[in-house]
């Protein structure tokens, strides 16, 4: 009886863990400039699970916390990071965040640029991307940028699956979500795109 109860509990837990993330619709497309000056689009990342954040380099308080949290996940993803999972951090301060500034910011946070791009663009491009992801930002007179901290997870087929608001989210939960999307990718034959 005890064994049956335990088995039932295991099944329930596993079923919950395997519950697929919702499908919010196609992730809004964008083409922006990386820290190396190359142009990259979301479509180029098709086949990988993408975590998309909005930050700016001179942010002194909250952005570094978010970037540090993502850097921690980069490590925990191990060999999945890069080939299967890609991070993209888009600046909300394109006037100041040139590719060089973003490259310096990336190095300062220990970002592995084989799986992480820091993106900038013309102010109008950034405005459009932020708007399409539901990110609000506004530059203050002092020069800092008030913005929504919204991290979006995009699956390997370019579908927006879940968004995390703020920086106090549970990194374990995001890791579970990323791994769940990696499993989906494998089931869909996504491994082909690694070759």
């Amino acid at each position: 009886m005890l064994a049956l109860t335990s088995l039932a509990a295991v099944i329930v837990v596993r079923a919950a863990a395997d519950e697929a993330l919702p499908l919010m619709g196609p992730a809004p497309a964008f083409t922006l400039t990386t820290q190396d000056g190359a142009r990259v689009s979301l479509h180029d990342l098709r086949g990988k699970v993408v975590a998309l954040t909005f930050i700016y380099a001179s942010c002194a308080d909250t952005c570094p916390l978010l970037t540090a949290k993502m850097a921690g996940l980069q490590t925990r993803l191990g060999t999945d990071f890069g080939p299967r999972v890609f991070f993209a951090s888009i600046t909300v301060d394109p006037e100041r965040d040139t590719p060089d500034v973003l490259k310096h910011y990336a190095h300062g946070h220990g970002a592995d640029l084989r799986g992480w791009a820091f993106l900038t663009g013309a102010p109008a491009e950034i405005h459009e991307v932020a708007k399409r992801y539901g990110v609000y930002y506004k530059k203050s007179a002092r020069g800092d940028v008030d913005h929504t901290f919204l991290t979006s997870l995009v699956d390997s087929r370019g579908m927006l699956r879940v968004q995390y608001l703020g920086v106090r989210f549970d990194p374990d939960e995001m890791l579970r979500d990323l791994r769940s999307l990696i499993r989906e990718r494998q089931a869909l034959g996504g491994a082909r795109s690694e070759r």
Binding site: L23, G134, L150, F169, Q186, A187
Partner: protein, 330 residues
């Protein structure tokens, strides 16, 4: 190498989600309207809808209008279609549903915000038996909430308490002068009464059970707006719930936005409200439980005729909030 278990997981996923085939996946369409009207009343526990403008713009709304009203005027605005989607208090919403107003409740936003302030002679709710309570208007949220509290402790709000109507500023003054026995206040009045040490808190719905266990403020829309504009409704609710998270996660930023936006004048009271009100519960509490709890109390107080289940069946639509609970994590 993919293990059998991983393969099964994948298969389950593919079969379970028909929409996973790219050809069958539909983009979330553009909202049916880019115009949204909300209200602006003196109460600031409804802060999410006051700091939501930028988020609404990010979600596709280009014409956002705030209609000024009193707290007592919110029900009329919502029923008449003067606002499209807005926050409103749970107890007055139930009275509206019972009256057949074309309103659809969309989800809970936060529990607790109102506080019952009493004179020294009032220590518990039952002490209000035979006493005088100041309210701004019969039927307005403070009167309705207080009636549910009276009913909960076995008092009859129609007979056991004398309600006197005065403007809010006078209500506070009457309590300060000891000319009334109690006053039920909403933020920022709650902050002000505490700061000025007027009366004492008899019930604080942010922490005192059972009130703290149910939503006080809920999101609702005009029924026709929700029916004709489901995409816009979901986007408006998404923006409001994001704003609710911001109130919880960044109270200083939210309080500053309230003051800068002209929705309230005192930053300290606004910040106190952001820190006191549990804005982090919209994913946790069940909105139906809140409607049922307050519906039963209002039924006991003979302020609604219908059973809660009927009101829930005819006046709610949880589709959007249920989707958003999965899509928006924090």
């Amino acid at each position: 190498m993919i293990t059998r278990r991983e393969l099964l997981r994948g298969v389950t996923g593919v079969v379970g989600g028909l929409a996973w085939r790219p050809g069958r996946v539909l983009a979330e369409p553009s909202p049916e309207t880019t115009r949204l009207r909300l209200y602006h009343s003196p109460s600031i526990c409804t802060a999410p809808q006051y700091i939501v403008e930028g988020l609404l713009k990010a979600d596709g709304f280009s014409e956002i209008k705030y209609v000024k009203t009193t707290v007592a005027g919110i029900s009329k605005l919502l029923a008449s279609g003067g606002v499209d989607v807005s926050l409103h208090f749970v107890a007055p919403l139930l009275i509206q549903l019972d009256a057949g107003d074309p309103v659809t409740v969309l989800g809970g936003v936060h529990p607790g915000c109102f506080e019952l302030f009493g004179a020294d002679r009032v220590r518990v709710i039952r002490d209000l038996n035979g006493k005088t309570v100041a309210i701004t208007e019969l039927g307005q949220p403070a009167h309705v909430f207080l009636s549910t509290m009276l009913a909960h402790v076995g008092l009859d709000p129609h007979k056991d308490v004398k309600f006197v109507e005065h403007p809010a500023a006078e209500c506070k003054q009457l309590l300060a002068e000891g000319k009334v026995d109690a006053y039920l206040a909403f933020p920022p009045d709650t902050q002000e009464l505490r700061a000025r040490k007027i009366g004492h808190v008899v019930v604080n719905s942010t922490v005192d059970r059972p009130w703290s266990q149910y939503f006080c403020c809920m999101a609702a829309g005009h029924r026709e707006f929700v029916r004709k504009h489901p995409i816009a409704t979901k986007r408006a609710l998404r923006a409001i719930l994001k704003a609710t998270d911001i109130c919880a996660l960044e109270p200083e930023r939210a309080a500053r936005a309230l003051v800068d936006g002209g929705f309230t004048s005192r930053y300290d009271y606004a910040l106190g409200t952001m820190k006191d009100v549990p804005y982090n519960k919209w994913r946790v509490y069940d909105p139906e439980d809140s409607l049922r709890f307050y519906g039963l109390r209002l039924h006991e107080a003979r302020m609604v005729k219908s059973a809660p289940q009927k009101l829930i069946a005819q006046g709610t639509d949880w589709r959007f909030v249920n989707e958003l609970k999965k899509e928006l994590k924090s």
